[in-house]
Symmetry: none
Subunit: 459 residues, 2 copies
Amino acid sequence: MLKDYLTANQQRHLSELLDLLRIPSVSTDPTRQGEVRRAAEFVVGKLAELRFEVQLFETPRHPVVVAHYRVSDSAPTVLIYGHYDVQPPEPLDLWISPPFEPVVENGLIVARGASDDKGQLYAHIKGVEALLATTGTLPVNLTFLIEGEEEIGSPNLTPLIEAHREQLAADIVLISDGAMVAPDTPTITYGLRGLAYVEVLVRGAGRDLHSGAYGGGAPNAINALAKIIAQLHNEQGRVTVPGFYDAVLELTDTEREAFRQVPFDEAHFKREAGLAATPGEAGYSLLERLWARPTLDCNGIGGGFQGDGAKTVIAAEARAKISCRLVPNQDPHDITAKLAAHLKRLAPPGVEVTVTELHGALPAVLRACAAGPLEAPAVQVAARALATVFGRPAVFARTGGTIPVVSTFQELLGAQVVMVGLGLESDKVHSPNEKFDLVNYYRGIEVSTALLAAFADMP
Amino acid sequence: MLKDYLTANQQRHLSELLDLLRIPSVSTDPTRQGEVRRAAEFVVGKLAELRFEVQLFETPRHPVVVAHYRVSDSAPTVLIYGHYDVQPPEPLDLWISPPFEPVVENGLIVARGASDDKGQLYAHIKGVEALLATTGTLPVNLTFLIEGEEEIGSPNLTPLIEAHREQLAADIVLISDGAMVAPDTPTITYGLRGLAYVEVLVRGAGRDLHSGAYGGGAPNAINALAKIIAQLHNEQGRVTVPGFYDAVLELTDTEREAFRQVPFDEAHFKREAGLAATPGEAGYSLLERLWARPTLDCNGIGGGFQGDGAKTVIAAEARAKISCRLVPNQDPHDITAKLAAHLKRLAPPGVEVTVTELHGALPAVLRACAAGPLEAPAVQVAARALATVFGRPAVFARTGGTIPVVSTFQELLGAQVVMVGLGLESDKVHSPNEKFDLVNYYRGIEVSTALLAAFADMP
């Protein structure tokens, strides 16, 4: 009956999504302020039609949609997070069709926001519609939390969650704002990395010096900075900051095995990024290094003469941006302090090192039960639901990036966070010709119904 | 009479120099091509007024001024070399007044080129003017050779000298493009360092990568470059390029003793340049390291995100400018080749290193007579003339800088080269707020007259 309903309503489900995609809700663009609000109101309207109790929370910039459907005190509460804003479409000349005039062709929906995140978000709204239409109710208490500032770093979301933590309390937070690890591969993403980001300034001489007059008798800020950076990794590719690995949660055997099951195409990974090698920490597989090991990378460096040609200067100053990707349970403030102390300790004679904290974000894994994160009930239940829809077992992934709001959900709401990406890595999110496969949209709707039903039975 | 003339004309001599300093003749900057030519034409005009026979030789880039004043077949011929081009003024925000709007304050002329080399060059032109005005002639046959490419390595000067070696033939080449070892200390500089200057480009990934998605599995061009640079010196501060020291001429005992006689104020050196330490090659005094030992310094570095704030990027490319100060008898092409090979050898897995030669210059010491470089007649005669003007004996020094053409003068013209710096080490040449002391400008004019008179009597 659910399947029949989904089949019967495919055309309408698609045309409603296309309506949403036609709204150019570019959150970073001040001239689109009204359009961004129009997208919020579109979502409000659709949820109100489904008899959700809907509120539009104003923020200093773009509003947040909060909608509740309460069925019973004994049912678990699920919060679905998504965002209705999109990235800027530029460069426009690389689009094969205008970014806000969606085209459906060859099984693809092509439009800005098709995958990130309107398509994935709307799949959940239509999944809920299908459950309501076919059963007259929902299997869980449901909250939608839909923001319009994800693409500009969610500056107003955490304060809002903090201010309404009781209203937003949930057992499970479900997020679909990502990708499966491969086509037709049900994927549960259960871990993220955090971030500690600093700027280091090395001061040598009191001013820029002539390399002829002073070379051989003056500290060189650039050489000193290079020497410092070079000592941040050892021969095994491990970060040398004392205490850096102290809080690192090692992968469980189950997780390592789960990573080995991921259909990860290393040749494709290298080809796509133009990599001749994938150097990193010894003793870990590439996926383990990308998803579950902390790293240190220079993100920028500058000093001395960078123009064309030759200038024979010994620079007084050089600076670098250095960031660490963190993994549970590393704390960004702790790592920043340890890194800063280490950088200062490495300063060669005659130079002074200053370290400025730029920003940090907590890493997150699903709050583990004693056996490990994959044994968490929400993960197990979601995995079974996905396996049923896809007809093949789910794989468990982490991701190397940071989604700051995930740790907020865990910390403030006490929720278990389950991330189920409905898109593909090839969806060109943030790029021209963003797309979402029709099959992934329709299957996403079905996934939503299956997940919500499964969460109702969670032990 | 000469003294009266010099006193009477001080104000005009100053204002003419300021006119020259107003011309932003930055030879490395393609957008300044016209300004560089304007500086050449300014010099041409001044020498033509003095009845020199002036020619402007075109080169592929900036023209060379050649001017002759011939008095007699029996008189010796002196060639005064200087340059009318200047270093780039950047960073502009550190200048207390705009670099090409000269300011005269507290006895200092502040402007780019005030000391290097417009002020020193123009002191000679005004010395010649004074001799002509007060005696109606000159004591020697005189040639000015004034180029506009000194700050970019004089790429076109040697071919020009080669092509006109008979016209440019001289007994003595007099150069004022440097500094006294201390204020009020007449200094004859008999040795120079050379230069080998390269740019190194490190390529890692095929494009800039997201540090979350790729960190731990992608080569980082900046970290790789830092690692390469850090390995260019060993713990003793010696350059690790294989064969780097093979051709180095060690100092004689006499020279080491002469260096010990130099009134070099190490505390002042450190204070003036803002140095907390003077690190360098172990086993050599500071002056020996600055004047007679080869070095390696990074002159610039850049890569990744250098703006304000944080960007989580793994840069595909990073580059550095690296130069070596060379000493006799190191050859810049040989050292460049060895350095390039070494840099490539040091490339960590996954990155590609490209090295581009930017420029090189031969080091030089004055052609020694059997007894040693300090006994050459031109040196002895110049020393006596300087002692008369300053009222104290001249000291003999080398300098850490490079004047590429000096070795050319020795090789092609068979001339004795005498370097008499009129500026000070504290003149901030190549740095913001370059200055030239008024007293050194005016005394420089007098030194010029005294040297030319002395050379007429050379045995």
